[in-house]
């Protein structure tokens, strides 16, 4: 018994070693490799697996159209397992071992921060599809998600002007995105004449599950007769217990509306939305947007994933835009060489799913419309407000003292992600 087990183990070990040696040669065929760096296990798998599937779908569709530059595209999928140092390791593996020409990936800011030095060192391209706190512009990263001025600030404007909100609860998970967003929003609100005592800021740890006290505090804060709203930057996992508690303590959207920046169709699909009707979310895309591109995209997605109940969401749209921008830039440049494509990407404009065009700005952020939707019983959003034009992503917020003098422009002669217009300096560049 033991003997055979040992033999098996030995064989397994031999296979593992052999396969290690062979991985270097496995990609001999002439294809264009597209890296997909999304967690498929661990805490972030909930959100990121969908994006991996989205990329596989986009690549498949592109191949059906005949590929790119006469070659087929090939997806290289790895699992960084929601482990931030592993993200850096896998990024390096994708670029230097698998020779990918572009990588689509990351969700959390920390994973992006972790891979950033790798992309800069190896001079590759990363498309980052999630709304984030801004305060960054790298030569090698293209940010297709929203910067705070493309999501948070317009959302607060809407609440203030259209709903008449006077008192504000800024509730978030304790990490960089909520901290920064809330800092920006607080500065913005105070600039608009809101008093300090009418702003309540609250931070909770990741995956916080017991919201009883906080929801009860919000209720008390909102009971003073002035219209109150909650601006929520609560992160993924903690949202569901938060909304469940809101429903149970009887806080309806008419009393205290909650506007969220990280709750989309995907998150709502894990939730009974009946008690939540009327709560809000601000994004650059909703599945309920009425446009031909969107209907095509939804049909293609449902077909690809073989499930008619699956939903689409904003980061998926960001990958859709990012991928098409990259394809267009490669066609324009005639090569997949990252250093050429980086330059070609700026100014590229492709259709987005809400019926307009999104363009890549010189600061590596894109232009997008801002939409505000109310949650409906069926887990979808009714769009109640949208910007009349497109909003350009601002890498450096004007409401933070440290960054108000900084601009990003990756075209020559400036070619800098954080140019200080006062000191005329471009610090910390690694190239």
């Amino acid at each position: 018994m033991i003997k055979t087990t040992l033999k098996k183990l030995a064989i397994a070990a031999a296979i593992t070693t052999a396969s290690l040696a062979s991985t270097g040669m496995a990609w001999a065929e002439d294809t264009i490799k597209v890296g997909v760096l999304h967690s498929l296990s661990g805490t972030m798998a909930i959100s990121e697996t969908t994006l991996k599937d989205t990329m596989l779908m986009l690549i498949e569709e592109q191949n059906k159209k005949g590929g790119l530059l006469g070659k087929k595209l090939e997806a290289v999928v790895v699992d960084p397992a929601s482990n931030w140092p592993l993200f850096a390791e896998k990024a390096r593996e994708l670029i230097s071992k698998n020779k990918t020409d572009v990588v689509f990936g990351c969700w959390t800011s920390v994973s992006r921060k972790s891979v950033l030095p790798v992309f800069e060192e190896l001079n590759s391209i990363l498309f980052y599809p999630v709304q984030y706190e801004g305060e960054e512009s790298s030569k090698n990263v293209f940010y297709t998600g929203a910067a705070p001025n493309q999501q948070a600030v317009p959302a607060v404007d809407y609440l203030m002007n259209d709903i008449g909100v006077k008192r504000w609860v800024l509730a978030g998970t304790d990490y960089v995105y909520p901290r920064t967003t809330n800092k920006i929003l607080k500065a913005y609100l105070i600039a608009k004449g809101v008093k300090e005592k009418d702003i309540m800021i609250n931070y909770t740890p990741f995956g916080h599950s017991d919201w009883q006290s906080i929801v009860s505090d919000i209720k008390k804060f909102g009971n003073t007769g002035k219209k109150t709203a909650v601006v929520s930057t609560i992160n993924g996992d903690a949202n569901i217990p938060f909304y469940k508690e809101l429903g149970n303590q009887g806080i309806s959207a008419e009393d205290i509306p909650v506007i969220a920046f990280s709750v989309g169709e995907e998150e709502l699909s894990g939730l009974d939305t009946k008690p939540l009707v009327g709560h809000l979310a601000a994004w650059n895309y909703f599945m309920s947007v009425e446009s031909d591109e969107n209907e095509e995209f939804i049909d293609a997605w449902k077909k690809f994933i073989k499930n008619k109940d699956r939903v689409t969401n904003d980061p998926m749209e960001a990958h859709y835009i990012g991928f098409n921008m990259w394809v267009k830039a490669v066609e324009k440049a005639g090569t997949t060489d990252p250093s050429v494509v980086q330059k070609a990407l700026i100014g590229v404009s492709v259709p987005n799913l809400s019926g307009g065009y999104s363009a890549m700005m010189p600061n590596h952020h894109i232009t997008k419309p801002v939409l505000i939707g109310e949650i409906q019983k069926d887990g979808q959003f009714d769009i109640v407000w949208e910007t009349s034009g497109l909003v350009a992503g601002d890498a450096w917020s004007d409401y933070l003292p440290g960054s108000k003098d900084l601009i990003a422009d990756w075209r020559s002669p400036l070619s800098c992600g954080n140019y200080n217009v006062k000191t005329k300096k471009c610090s910390g560049q690694n190239y």
Binding site: L20, V78, E89, S403, G428
Partner: protein
């Protein structure tokens, strides 16, 4: 002399040190001197990966010292590793100087970002390497001393001790996640530029870090071997096997435990300090209790209470993780889970148990042949 004597009795250890020596000579040559298109070239990616494995191996040695020889199943050793890493990270952060994106000469980027006005007191001094190096040893050491002093003095043992080590690392994780703590919150410390004036991106720096890790592992291993072969080590094994009895014989059980524990924490801290510049980020996730549990699993898979087993386990598990996450991204957890289950069921003494198993088989066979 003493050293030679000790190592003479440690054949696998000698083998391991030998391999380590060969690797540390071969890798730099194959990376720096062999041209990139040659089949023998080792990419910088591999070098960094190996360097990371070596720091894990050192951490595993540290854990084996307390688990294998003191009998304390520590579920919080990753905390010391992370603390060492943070001390190094703070030094590397200060080295960035005004090359940060905001160009602030003193404050790291994340502080500017959150509008901190001045450097908190606990960041002072980390611009000096010697100070950081001292802290890499002192902080895990002091924490281990205080924690151990309290725990061993009140004779907390068994699972109770395991769970409070877990509580310790869990509390630290939550604390470091808080942005008010001043350690960068969830994003941690990142975007390092150079160490001691050498560019972290240069291949030569990578090789140097790899060699430093190899050297640290070798020295850590030898020191641990000396400790376990000394009277202290024998006494600790006695404590592991029969604590009350050792106490009645007259050993100062608490003190012995405490010093081995502190030493192990320092080793873990050094491992963390070498780990950070190679992976380029340190964040509170390193404190996660799951990391500590995984660490114990490396030791168990390699073979507990042998020191070299810990090294083998760390290398094997981490290599399979690297391999599986790329080769079987969708189902690699099955493979890893199955590996854990099978090894515990069929190899109770870990991988190195195979060795002694073979040995006993051989002697058995020889005996059979004689009769």
């Amino acid at each position: 002399m003493l050293l030679m004597n000790i190592l003479k009795n440690d054949k696998p250890g000698l083998w391991l040190l030998g391999i380590l020596l060969v690797v540390s000579i071969a890798v730099p040559i194959l990376n720096l001197l062999v041209p990139e298109n040659s089949a023998f070239h080792i990419s910088t990616y591999t070098v960094t990966l190996l360097g990371k494995y070596l720091t894990y191996a050192l951490l595993a040695v540290a854990a084996d010292l307390v688990w294998g020889y003191l009998g304390i199943l520590t579920l919080g050793h990753a905390a010391f590793f992370a603390l060492g890493g943070y001390a190094m990270g703070m030094y590397l952060m200060r080295q960035i100087g005004e090359r940060g994106v905001y160009g602030d000469p003193v404050l790291p980027d994340f502080m500017v970002f959150l509008s901190w006005q001045e450097l908190p007191w606990f960041w002072q001094g980390f611009d000096q390497f010697w100070f950081a190096a001292l802290m890499i040893i002192l902080i895990p050491g002091i924490l281990a001393y205080v924690f151990g002093y309290l725990a061993f003095r009140s004779r907390v043992t068994g699972v109770y001790l395991s769970i409070i080590t877990q509580a310790m690392t869990y509390a630290l994780m939550l604390a470091f996640f808080r942005n008010e703590m001043g350690f960068g919150g969830n994003n941690g410390l990142t975007d390092f530029k150079d160490i001691l004036g050498f560019d972290l991106r240069a291949d030569s720096t990578r090789i140097a870090l790899f060699l430093a890790s190899a050297a640290a592992l070798a020295i850590g291993y030898v020191l641990s071997r000396i400790i376990v072969s000394s009277r202290l080590g024998l006494a600790s094994v006695a404590i592991r096997d029969a604590e009350s009895r050792s106490r009645f014989i007259g050993y100062r059980v608490e003190n012995i435990k405490l010093w081995v524990f502190v030493f192990s924490a320092i080793l873990a801290g050094i491992a963390g300090a070498l780990y950070v510049p190679q992976v380029g980020i340190i964040n509170p996730g390193e404190f996660s209790p799951l990391n500590s549990i995984e660490l114990v699993i490396w030791v168990a898979i390699g073979g507990r209470g042998t020191l070299y087993g810990a090294i083998i386990g760390a290398l094997l598990v981490n290599y399979s993780k690297t391999y599986f996450t790329a080769a079987l991204p969708e189902i690699w957890l099955y493979a890893l889970g199955a590996l854990f289950i099978l090894v515990t069921l069929y190899l109770p003494k870990g991988i190195v148990g195979l060795w002694s198993l073979r040995k006993t088989r051989k002697t058995q066979k020889m005996r059979e042949e004689k009769t």
